[in-house]
Subunit: 340 residues, 2 copies
């Protein structure tokens, strides 16, 4: 009996504000193994690192699969060179440390790290909406991924002369594509963002903003005929607004229209700067937008704000990978890195 040759894979990590998820992913984006555990809320740095180590050990002990490298998507700002995390609001226990350096030394494997929205863009490019577009004969030359969820983030993948494939844009410190904190409402009384500024896209069109806006209007006693008026204010979520919209609730649909306006302004600004041919909407709120058939409305809103016909030559599509985009992006980045 001969030993079976192990299947090569990348160990992908997606460490978010709630879960630490890991997967073993092959060259084609197939998930060969996957596991997740909830973060130790309120735990110390050691608690978090133990959780990571324990999941890593599980992954390394999966039979017949050999991890060639590690790719890590994290929910927060991260320097791609040093791997250091900078004050990740939802992962503060890991502030200032470099999983990249730590795990590279510990496991002797190449490690790449990136912001989760950036890596989601890489995932969609290689294994999701970008791959679909390429297979349909339109390989994307400039792809922009937006996640509309509790917050709003983004990632950009663009062709550059001299490279065979489009590349993730990292900027000076890995902090590109923060479309959620571009200004889409310049009024003095524009909604306040959690970042401290007013009028950010995130403060107008995120799940949090949708819920806040609906809650404020209902608290004033307006829209009593809306189905949303029957929900306890503290339980009102963007998900409930979407659900009511699907049922034809006029107030819910007005709330969602306002979110679409914000997205149109922010994405039109982005289109003028990145000239994308493919825009991908991911995240929970985007699923709601798709359900409500609002993508054509958003696309029209962007078109209305563009300076030239040529800028309008983009597709706007929902995420193909959904919750797995960050994980698959971390794997894709690790595979890419292994070929450099």
């Amino acid at each position: 009996m001969t030993a079976q040759k192990p299947v090569p894979a990348m160990l992908a990590v997606d460490w978010g504000g709630t879960w630490c998820r890991m997967g073993l992913i092959d060259r084609h984006g197939e998930v060969l193994w996957q596991a997740r555990r909830p973060n130790p809320r309120g735990g110390s740095r050691t608690d978090y690192l133990s959780l990571g180590a324990s999941l890593l050990n599980e992954a390394f002990s999966v039979e017949d699969i050999r991890a060639l490298g590690i790719g890590i998507a994290v929910a927060g700002p991260v320097d791609p060179d040093s791997g250091i995390l900078y004050q990740p609001p939802n992962l503060m226990a890991l502030d200032g440390i470099s999983l990249k350096r730590m795990w590279r030394e510990q496991y002797g494997l190449p490690v790449l790290v990136g912001n989760d929205a950036n890596y989601a863009a890489v995932g969609e490019f290689h294994f999701g909406a970008g791959r679909d577009a390429a297979q349909a004969g339109h390989p994307p030359r400039s792809l922009f991924y937006v996640t509309v969820s509790t917050g709003i983030g983004g990632g950009a993948v663009m062709r550059v002369p001299g490279l065979p494939e489009p590349s993730l844009l990292l900027g000076a410190n890995g902090l590109t594509a923060e479309v959620g904190h571009t200004t889409v409402d310049t009024a003095v009384g524009a909604p306040l963002c959690q970042c401290g500024k007013r009028g950010c896209l995130e403060a107008v069109s995120s799940g949090t903003a949708i819920a806040n806006y609906a809650r404020a209007a209902l608290a004033e006693g307006r829209h009593r005929d809306s189905a949303l008026a029957a929900i306890a204010l503290e339980e009102l979520s963007s998900r409930a607004v979407v659900a009511a919209g699907v049922q034809g609730d006029a107030f819910a649909n007005a709330v969602m229209s306002r979110a679409c306006e914000g997205l149109a302004v922010g994405l039109a600004n982005m289109v003028h700067l990145f000239n994308p041919d493919l825009i991908i909407l991911g995240g929970g709120v985007s699923e709601g937008l798709t359900q409500l058939n609002l993508l054509p409305t958003i696309r029209q809103g962007i078109h209305d704000r563009l300076m030239s016909e040529l800028h309008k030559a983009f597709d706007l599509v929902p995420s193909v990978l959904g919750d797995n985009s960050g994980l698959l992006g971390a794997a894709a980045a690790a595979w890419e890195g292994s070929e450099l």
Copy 2:
């Protein structure tokens, strides 16, 4: 007697709305020869092409210099692959043609073409403010060039993994970095832009916008104590506003402050998306901003709108190359292209 070996150079072209300029530029950005002629205003396509051919012939007949290739910066949208110009507002005689294809066939040399603001970014990177930063120990990893002049344009040069040097970002069709048409005023009555939209940066902070705003206020009979009130309305220019500002004129300085506000909003949005470490202000109005010592004001205005401390780690500097940035950028792009 032995023949002198000719000096290798690139033939750089900067074709703007007023002048067609050409230069022979060596590997280090030295201008070895330069000439310019005014556009044949109201002339036919043939008139424009004759002008180009005549200047090219002049350049090719310069003794002791051998052009290895041609780089062309044009004032308008251009597809970098096909070289086709798309409705360049100030060069409509050349709409739909490809100087790249035409001259490559005619002269048997490699030809590269790009938008003038994009190429100005390349010029500043290789031979201007970018080179200065590199020599001071801070080679830029993400450089954004903005030209504030009659209109407002831009160009982005960014590092990407796998390439030894930062690269010009082209997007899907060479239409990136159009910061002038991002929205910086979302009010219903925001100033109208020549592109047809309201509230564009160009409609708030360009030379045209500065003159329009001053003119409108003076036409209403306000600010009679300003030195600008003595100028015939139709002769009022942004240059006159800057000159009055330098003399301490309060109204002129208020007009310039408003332009700075617009720049702060537009550039803060850009910083969230490109995460630059070097922002370069070029164009005639920027010279005025520098004269009035307004760059620290603009930088502070950008800082006030940024989501994180790390995003603030950029320098904001005036253009080093001035009027020559497009020409030197065309040369730099041609030199870069010759090495691929």
